[in-house]
Symmetry: C2
Subunit: 257 residues, 2 copies
């Protein structure tokens, strides 16, 4: 079956896009056929992979609002086994336009079910909010949600609210929605607070938290400006090593499906 | 007159709350009477100032959706001249509930006009999106918007979209909406990219970009866990020094009003 993960956390700037892009790229490097869906109007996943939209380019907006088949919107990337459904700022309008749709939370899930091209994995990047776009991604995430948590104090604040939203969606829209993993990101060993935050998250999510902690690493923030994933841009960097380790852990957890 | 600034950028984690909280605190330390309005459902500005909501506590939600007078929702902080309109996760529901309101973009502006307590400055923190809550804050910002920009590549991507939104609001809702300032944040001198981003932003916004660049400084990420602003938590830190310099620049720019 196609394994589908969403990457979500309404806190801004915690590494959702960085995680979605690098997991998708690294899993595709293991000779798996991977699709990344960019459901954020900022379209950071799209630009991080160097994907330029042609003038009349179709994006996820066309799928959600104009019911275009997903097959027609899928684009290749520089990695042979990695494909993308790109986003654009127009997608911000989808939040309002979809308010009156019947079963508006299920639109993305149904669009994914209809694609004819077979993928081994699908990763869905989400915006920093819990609106219609993120709810669609959580409803479509048949195998669960990966939650990046920045190793900083403010990142802990919003976790309770995210868990409530996940529970609501599990009860009403997607019975399979588990927490597939909690990934500590931007860990800075120079501050005690980072270690305290990591320890606290491990207590709350003992099973779900990945062993691997992603350190703060400049190469990860530089890679998007080259339109490359970290394995392509700086394969031996601490950022690359840690995302390779996370990918191993995730593939191991995925074996049960 | 009361000088009203909103702090906005739909990119997540760029330092909006850190800027709103520390500017508000530092301006209040200059013996000005300051109100900070937290319009983000994450309520990070509320917790960064150590403000705990009483069980039946009134928040901005009650003002926007239940038309409570703002006067009744204002709370004190540990700083004698700094007051806050707190937020809570319920505010996320306001985005949907306000869709059918007449003139939904003007609700916050009208609520601020009705407050009897006089303030010298009002700072409005916003969520990482361009939805109804941020539009309300931009419409209420009589003296302009302060845009924090993280000194990283992905931060540049969304600026065009933010400028379009500002232009739309200026044309339709708030003729005074200027860019009061562009603040470069989380500057990391170890990477060339940061300097490139700062230079590029200065080219785009030669007048608006503050001279001061806020460096990445661990004390700024630790202060919220103590419920304190940076001047209280680590007065001599690089983070505190830079926000003091920004405050001086902002007060100078405010003299023209
Ligand atoms: N481990 C890391 N070390 C250093 N920089 C990082 C790391 N992870 C992400 N970054 C950088 O931090 C910024 C925020 O990361 P990213 O954009 O992935 O977060 P996000 O959660 O997707 O943000 P948004 O909420 O806006 O969607 C980006 O500039 C990114 O390049
Ligand atoms: N100059 C800085 N140096 C180091 N850490 C910083 C700096 N500015 C902000 N931070 C930390 O970075 C994280 C993101 O900052 P902040 O929460 O202020 O951003 P934001 O734009 O308000 O995020 P959101 O989009 O979620 O509202 C926080 O943990 C904060 O403490
Ligand atoms: Mg992102
Ligand atoms: Mg914030």
């Amino acid at each position: 079956p196609t394994i589908i993960y969403s990457i979500a956390n309404q806190k801004g700037g915690v590494g959702k896009t960085t995680t979605a892009v690098n997991l998708a790229a690294l899993v595709s490097a293991q000779n798996k056929r991977v699709l990344i869906i960019d459901s954020d109007p900022q379209a950071n996943a799209t630009s991080s992979l160097g994907v330029k939209l042609p003038e009349n380019g179709l994006t996820l907006y066309d799928v959600l609002v104009n019911k275009h088949p997903l097959d027609e919107v899928i684009q290749p990337t520089y990695r042979p086994q990695l494909f993308i459904v790109p986003s654009s700022p127009d997608l911000a309008a989808a939040e309002v336009e979809m308010v009156r749709f019947l079963a508006r939370e299920l639109v993305l899930k149904k669009a994914i079910e209809a694609i004819s091209t077979k993928f081994d994995f699908i990763f869905i990047d989400t915006p920093p909010s819990l609106g219609v776009l993120t709810i669609n991604a959580l409803t479509a995430a048949r195998h669960g949600v990966i939650i990046p948590v920045q190793s900083e104090y403010l990142a802990l604040e919003g976790l309770g609210h995210l868990l409530n939203t996940i529970r609501l969606i599990r009860d009403n829209l997607n019975a399979h929605l588990q927490i597939a993993g909690v990934l500590m990101t931007m860990f800075d060993s120079r501050t005690k607070l980072a270690t305290q935050v990591v320890n606290e998250v491990r207590i709350y999510f003992p099973e779900e938290t990945f062993e691997t902690v992603v350190p703060r690493n400049i190469r990860l923030s530089e890679a998007p400006s080259h339109g490359e994933d970290i394995l392509t841009y700086a394969p031996n960097s601490p950022g690359s090593m840690s995302y390779q380790a996370v990918t191993k852990e995730l593939l191991k957890r995925s074996e049960k499906f």
